[in-house]
Structures are given as structure tokens and as C-alpha cells.
Amino acid sequence: MEKKPFNDISYEAFLREEKLMGSKCRSCGELFVPPRPICVKCGASEMEWVEMKGVGKLSAFTCIAVGPPFMKQEGYTRDHPYCTGVIQLDEGPRVTARIEDVDTKKPEEIKVGAAMKVKYLHRGEGDRGATFLAFKPV
């Protein structure tokens, strides 16, 4: 695991294994999710992989009625919106993620600050497969 480069390919490969991973600066201890190859706090380049617990709070969200074609293919339409948002992880960093298991027809009932836990959305097969990071209410 230590050999994986600190980039988005590794980040997404970990997601396929249902692991939410970040990089921690060996010099100053700052934590980054998704991982960064350079510490933007102290400038050091020595990083190590750290796994997140996968729990946090909803910082911001939206329920999208007009999505891009790839979401339309997943069945999301004006009458069936999807939710996506920003999660503040317990460990500190923020991530953008799809928000599942909420009533997107009643967005006024979704609350900023709500407790959330990770959920992995596996889409497609083999080389064409990808896993998307999502969260759902605890």
C-alpha cells in the first residue's frame, strides 16, 4: 500500500476497495483527503497513506434536477433528482460526495450539520467500472 503514488488514480483504486484514504504529511502531520503529493501547509513531499473512518457531517448539499447525461443514464431526471454535497470528515478534511438515502423531493428536510457515514457506489464492470464516494445519513 505504501508504494501507491499520492494521486487520484490511487485514491479511486482505494475507493473500489471500499477504503476512503488520505495522505498525511510526515513532516507537519497535516491530513489531506483526497491525497496530495505536496503538503500545502509546510511544503514537504513525504507523505503516508491514512485511512478515514468514513463518518462526518453534512456541510453543504444540493438536489440536482438537471444533471449531466451520465446521471440521466443512471435514471436521474427532473422528477427524480439526485443529491450531492460536501462532507466534513471527523478527521477534519472535507470531501465532495454523492448523498444517498435522502428524500430529494423534500430537500428542505435535509439539514446541514446532519451526521453522515460513508457508502460506496460501484458502477460498471471491469476496466469500465468505477466506484463513487457517497455518504448517507447515520
Binding site: F61, I64, V66, P68, P69, F70, V86
Partner: protein, 421 residues
Amino acid sequence: MKRPRKLGRGVALVGVGMSKFGMFRDRDSKDLFAEAFRNMIASVDKGADPQDIDALYVGNFSNDFFIHQAHWGPIVSDLIGHVPKPATRTEGACASSALALREGIFAIASGFYDMVLVGGVEEMSKRSTEEVAEGLALATAPYEGRAAFTFPGVFGAVATAYFDRYGASREHLMNVTIKSHNNAALNPRAQIKATIRSMMESKRRRASEKGLPEPTWQDEKEFLRDQDANPVVAWPMHLFDCCPISDGASCALLVGEELARRFTDAPLYVVGMGQGSGSGFHAADDLTTFQATKYAAEEAYSMSGLKPEDVQFSEVHDCFSIAELIHMEDLGFFKPGQAYKAVEEGATRRDGSKPINTSGGLKCKGHPVGATGVAQLMEVWEQLRGEAGERQLPIKGLRIGAAHNLGGTGGTCTFTIFERR
């Protein structure tokens, strides 16, 4: 920033032009740029010979995606007969032509050129709404795109964070929208040249003509609360919180300060300019502010020696209603969490203490993304020269106006301050 910014040589704006903005089946990017160019040349009071243009910079975000054609520098150069002189495309998402403006200013300030054409163009409407959403989302931060954020979605999320933090609501955003439409109704160049009230009237009339029951909205807000009239796009962003899909082009002529009066007795001088960059949501400390705007403003204010209160009016990048609130706070016009109250009290109307988006803003003037940065100069130009007609600000000694442009989800922001002397 170690020291205040300054230009090595002063730079003046001596002409500005725009094409019509709209959704055009029968018009293309070249045609639109040609119209903006002709209008720009016609705006130069004492005339300008296009043969004297030393270089051109043209902003374009994503015609690559929208119409499958890249490399717009030489295309525009060829169009206006500028070949073989240099032409450069700039890209900063929705701030693409503000970057063209900056490159043009630098090129003259360095002493390398004397006269530079800057502009922008975008041709978006030949794609479906979903494809436009996908194309624009190319400019989100990488992880935002993976999470299926669209642009209305990004600003919808910003709105939920702003509401939660400051206690604002959709009702406050409606004040922004109503004001934009009131201004646009007086702007002959606006893509949506109508007040909300006039749109309500025409919908009533159409219902009556079809023999359907007439809607009974009491006022603009009741209309905006109506889910049929104002459907959700990306909650809490509804149709009337969003700028339209637009095709269009813009163009401006810059010269060395000492040459300006050969072209006009009323040039505008660049007194402050700034640009910043920003991270995506995942790395932002605060979801209710854009750090790139704050940095751009700091550069522009320190260069000019001006304070936010000295800026008498400004165009700001209101791609969405919530964006106008955030930008006004980031630019220092209002304190954090106060902009929505100021709008409610009328401070940003034409007769208010800080008129904002007197053109109608991106919301109503239209937002062909790569053309917007330079198109914003049109309003600054007309207001400062007293040529804004029915929109003319009733301010004595109108002298300082500004334009703020945002690209992506706050990845590229600029702020430019102009003075009439």
C-alpha cells in the same frame, strides 16, 4: 503580496462592443465576434484603424466541447483581417476573457505594444441543456465533477451553507433576481429584457388566450415561489436563480495611456486590477466565500489606493443569485453575512448606495461564458461615460466603476477597477 501592484505604463480603454447575446440557431462564433468587433470600432469616439492593432487576446472557455472547434486565437485573427499579427486564446473558465483583458493590459504596460484588442466568444446553445451542464462542469474542481456536481449544483450547495450560517433564505435570493430583471428591462442588450412583473403579465395573457385559468400571483415573490413558473434546477437554485444559456461575443480596445486622447476625450483608465486562484470545495476553509475573489480584490485595491466604499458601482459575476451575495461580501462592499440584508433594503438597486449589476447582470444580460469578462466592461464604459440611457446612475461625479469575474467554482477570479478622469 509583498508590495502593491503597479503597471509599468498606464493603460486606457478607448472602445467596447458586444454582439447580441441569446440562443441563436443561425449564428456562429465568428459571426458573433464580427458583430462585437464592428460595435467596438464604432464606439471609438474619434475612430480607430484596425490596422493599428498590434495583438489580440481572445477568451474562450470551451468551444472545444460546445461546437468541437478549438484554437480560437487565429480564427478570430483571420476573421478581422489581423493575420499575420499575433493572436492568443486565454482560458479561465467563465473568466476567460477577463484573462484576455489582463494579458492585453500587461502587453501594453510592458511597452511591447501600443494598441491591443481583447475580447471573448462562446457558442453554447447548440447543445442540449444536459450537455451544456456537462460542458460547464468540465470547469469544476476534479472531485466535484466525480460527485456529479453541476454549476447550479455547486452554487446550490454554497447557498445551503450560506443559509445555514447566516439565516438567509430563498426569499432573500428572490430580491437579487427581481432587481436584476428590473435593471435588464432598461438594457437594450439584455438577453432577457423583462421585469418579473412583465413576465407574469405575459404568462397570464397566454393562459387567457388558451382559455386556461389565469394564474393569480399577488406579487413577484409569489410567482417565484410557484414551482410551475420557477422549477427547481439544483435545489435551492431554481430557474430564476440561474443565468441563461447564451451565445455571444465581446470586444474592447486598449491603448497606452499617453495615446488615449487621440481616440476619445472620455477614455477609462485601468487603476486597479487583481487576479486570484482558488481550490475546490474539498480544500476550502469556508464554503461561503471565494478566496480567489478576496485575493483579486486585495491586489486591485492596493494597486489603486481605493477602498471598497470608493467603488461607486460594480458588475459582479452573478452566474447564480447566491453568487451575487457572496461576491459583494468578498469584494468588501458588505460585511460577511450582511449582503442579503443590504439587498433587501435596496442598497444594490440603481438608486441605492452600492448599485450592483446595473446591466441586469449575467442573470439577464446573458452569459456566453468566454465573452462575459469583457462584456462586463460594456456597462462600466456606458455608466462612467454617462451613456447608459434609462439605466444611468443618478450619482453626481460618477468616476469609479469596477467589474468582477469568476471562473469555475471560484478557481479563477478577477477584479478590475476603472476611472474616468
